[in-house]
Symmetry: C2
């Protein structure tokens, strides 16, 4: 039962989808056949020219019908539509997974369209860059990065999927959807929201100041502009689909920011120093965990 | 008149001070003598062992009295005290500069202690890392980074100082103190405040969640923890000494964040998409400006 996937379909040819294809190509497993599809014909053509898929299909049903593993690497806002479209083409015994950054919403959107003899196991690779599109992928994107499988129990199919992700270079862990969405809200979604905000604030400054902000862009802001250069559609969908956890974390953040704002206004040096000191230990732990 | 500085005193042996000494050492100019001092005897000893200064002085007056250029690379909260201490030891015709991240406050704190025949020209290198202390410096820190001189006019002494900073690898520009403080508030001070806040918010999470936030720390948060690992004393002083500009920028930021928060709550996808799209162009300009 724990046999490897031999016919693999990648739906959505952006950073994640093409990186999966690159990584599989690098593995040079001749038993594996890959099917690639994107709704954008230009992206399909780009992937065709890169020669990283066995077949680039012009029709989503052709890309799905033979596959024993289907990976939906599309914005989370498109999951429902795509799931409804592919539903009738899924092969008995096939495994469907996705790579979206919000999990409760994807489960709600996709699960109703999964036929009886098909397994739906959501997942999320904690890997990415600020670049997007079919040319942004590369084979080592997942190396030593966590790939989270959303499941409440280990089954033959989750083990099979974990094995597949391991072969792409990932460290696989299993968590619940709700827990995943909370963790991602604070580690990824809120930081992106804030980076987008501050870069937006800067871009509203008077023209002279704005130009010099760009010119003299110091460390700190530079990092924020990189984060805020990420794909706008992907991020719109994330905030719409993990709004509850994001708004909860945002509320906590706002309370903390208010405290610091008050400390600055009241010139409470000791309070600022204490706050700035304790955040150092978190960085230290992250470096120790090897995820920096 | 536009002659080079031959006796140079570096007061404060942290990241900036030792990087200046490293860069001068790398320049191998035998006509130059350097004097190094730090209030912390351990730091003096570290620098002595690194052999990057001609003299490491145990007394601040010995480090100052012969110098024709004195560089105060200390936290901005210490400027007033140090200026009052060195005032009587400054040589006629000497130039005093500093490397602090807030300029109006440094001018207010230092200027009253500058004797009649001494020139005080504040400055600020837009360079740094999240590391601090005498072992964190390196000779290329200032290469291709802006070094801002605070002056309303060009004089023989500002040219002399600009020439010195250029020889350390910097691109020198002249701006006013008030303008500097506004630019730094948005490009550096506010991003640091926010990074400190969000890492603090994460460290207040329940124990399980907090540990997994560290473990699964994704891009975005990882960058924030790096920023929030910066020297707490330096940053306490910056917020106390540029509070006006920081609070102004923070107010604008809060308004923008409220707007986005509302858009998430109301599920206004179009508004989010528009906001996330326009920030991309700022990143593009920064990359074009070569300061990424």
């Amino acid at each position: 039962m724990n046999q490897k996937f031999k016919k693999i379909s990648v739906i959505g040819l952006g950073l994640i989808g093409t990186s999966i294809l690159h990584a599989m190509t690098a593995n040079k497993d001749e038993e594996v056949t890959t099917f690639a599809y994107d709704i954008n014909p230009k992206h399909r053509n780009t992937v065709l020219n890169m020669q990283i898929a066995t077949f680039v299909c012009d029709n989503i049903h052709d890309a799905i019908s033979e596959a024993d593993l289907i990976i939906l690497s599309i914005p989370v806002g498109s999951m429902k539509t795509v799931a409804s479209v592919i539903s009738s083409s899924l092969k008995d015994g096939a495994v469907v997974t996705d790579t979206g950054s919000t999990k409760s919403s994807v489960i709600n959107d996709v699960y109703p369209f999964i036929p009886k003899n098909v397994f739906f196991i959501p997942s999320h690779p904690l890997a990415g860059t600020e670049y997007s599109g079919p040319k942004s992928g590369f084979s080592s994107l997942f190396e030593n990065r966590y790939w989270l499988i959303i499941s409440n129990k280990q089954t033959d199919q989750t083990k099979r999927l974990a094995n597949f992700f391991s072969n792409l270079g990932s460290i696989v862990e299993t968590v619940s959807a709700e827990y995943h969405d909370k963790i991602l809200a604070i580690t990824s979604h809120l930081p992106h929201l804030i980076a987008y905000t501050i870069v937006g604030t800067a871009s509203d400054l008077e023209a002279d100041l704005k130009n010099d902000v760009i010119k003299f862009s110091a460390s700190g802001f530079r990092d924020f502009t990189r984060i805020a250069a990420s794909d706008p559609i992907m991020w719109r969908d994330i905030f719409l689909n993990n709004s509850e956890a994001v708004l909860e974390m945002l509320q906590r953040f706002n309370e903390d920011l208010s405290d610091l704002q008050k400390a600055i206004r009241k010139k409470e040096g000791e309070k600022l120093h204490t706050f700035f000191s304790r955040t150092r230990s978190i960085r230290k732990k992250i470096i120790e965990a090897g995820q920096h």
